[in-house]
Point group: none
Chain length 252, copies 2
DNA sequence: ACTCAAATCAACAAAAATCAACATTTTCGT
DNA sequence: ACGAAAATGTTGATTTTTGTTGATTTGAGT
């Protein structure tokens, strides 16, 4: 068993796919060594190999989904680590849809004894198989672009739970309007989750503060004083008002 | 108890992995001493040893579900390909839990326009994000060893659907008793799915025909004549009676 | 189909780590 | 202080891992 095994697995699982050359630079060894030590991993089925790279078997390989997962990847990983750190073991947490939430779910695999409620099938399947976790999948009918549910039963499940944290995300942030998403049903779910959570964690990478997106957007429910915002760079000064009273954390 | 043990344990658990040389410098003793002192620690299971370093056992270990996914991998992949071929585009299909079903779900990503109902969060998240699919997740409360649901709402969802195929699996096959699983709830779900499907596909790799498992087991609902059994090797002759009237297919 | 660059593989030599045996030092009870 | 037992360091043979080389395969583009 090689000493690089854990690092390779972690890197590949986090990113879905990473090139052999990149791994060799990352670990400071030759590409040949990466191939050699990863061979048992692919034989055991933990990873798959393609020409030039290793790909994770634990993550969807569907283009649109993967694209979003790979946008601002390092930022999201850093934010996810910080969120997982904050949440801690044995906590209960509601998690919404969104690629950042997907990374948080992956980071939360290191936690133990979580109680989770989510309307994202990806989040649910990521965390459900960790021994000791209790995971509730909210909703039945999954929409195809991200595998999340927004039907009536989703609300019923969420409204039955009472959790320590709710993890939310946003498509963009506007200095006046606040945290925005594109669909009403996402707002509704966020609202239901927030009502039943002690504390909200809003996870947004820095790109969300700079979006020029002009598509119609809807406001997420307002955060309460003391709620947490995790991002990866200090937001521009224009957002000072919006973030007033919130617990802003910069992950790196 | 050696005076170094505590420090070694602490350092290794803290950092996950630390080289023997580094430990020897850290404690101001020879590398040989580190090996000697750490030997009882690895024998007692507190640490693992790799060439050049000691790694903590505390932190990262694969969930059992993923380990089962890797058992008889090639056989399951072959079976999954055959099943996906058979099911075709635009079909509707109910899929149960089980590692073989997980592989079938992955193979089904190549199909288009599927309507899927499943009680496995893993299957659901794998297929939900394929554009054009309609996926229903049956159930809310996910059990931790495989992320599948067996609660009342799971049955309600399944009983509302009418599908072309149901994809089933088994833990083992007995020449007299037939296809067996270990839990009653799995039988119940299989039963509900079969009642609402035109045709059943039973996917079992060859190892299931050879199991010596003596744990108590329960029969899956009886297959109808014309139902399909997909496996990867011709079953032993003792199973001829059981397979009588069924459509047996050998995948390679 | 053909070409070229990049990635892979196989084999070998160099380097690093391990192990076993022995010499030396430390510890501890008397 | 003395001797036995345990712990540590040292040495050299052995094993494992690693980087390099060159031949081969693969994949993208024409």
């Amino acid at each position: 068993m090689s000493k690089y095994k854990a690092q390779i697995l972690q890197a590949v699982d986090m990113r879905g796919t990473v090139s052999v050359i990149e791994l060799s630079r990352m670990l400071g060894v030759s590409d040949q060594t990466i191939r050699r030590v990863s061979q048992p991993l692919v034989e055991s089925g933990a990873l798959s190999k393609v020409h030039g790279a290793l790909v994770s078997n634990r993550m969807p390989t569907d283009p649109p989904f993967l694209e979003r997962m790979n946008l601002n990847r390092e930022a999201k990983v850093a934010i996810a680590r910080a969120a997982a750190e904050l949440i801690g073991d044995n906590a209960s947490v509601a998690i919404d849809t969104g690629s950042t939430s997907g990374f948080v779910a992956q980071a939360l695999r290191a936690r133990k004894g979580l109680t989770v409620v989510t309307n994202s099938a990806f989040v649910a399947s990521t965390l459900a198989i960790i021994p000791g976790n209790k995971v509730s999948m909210a909703g039945t009918q999954l929409r195809d672009h991200d595998g999340a549910a927004f039907d009536r039963s989703a609300f019923e499940v969420i409204e039955r739970m009472r959790v320590d944290y709710v993890l939310l995300s946003a498509s963009m942030v506007d200095a006046e309007a606040g945290f925005l998403v594109h669909e009403q049903c996402e707002v509704d779910i966020a609202n239901a989750m927030m009502k039943n959570a002690k504390r909200a964690i809003m996870a947004v990478d820095h790109s969300k503060f700079e979006t020029q997106d002009r598509r119609p957007a809807l406001r997420q429910p307002e955060l309460k004083p003391g709620d947490i915002v995790i991002t990866d760079r200090a937001p521009p000064p224009a957002f000072a008002d919006l973030l007033q009273g919130l617990d802003l954390r910069i992950a790196s």
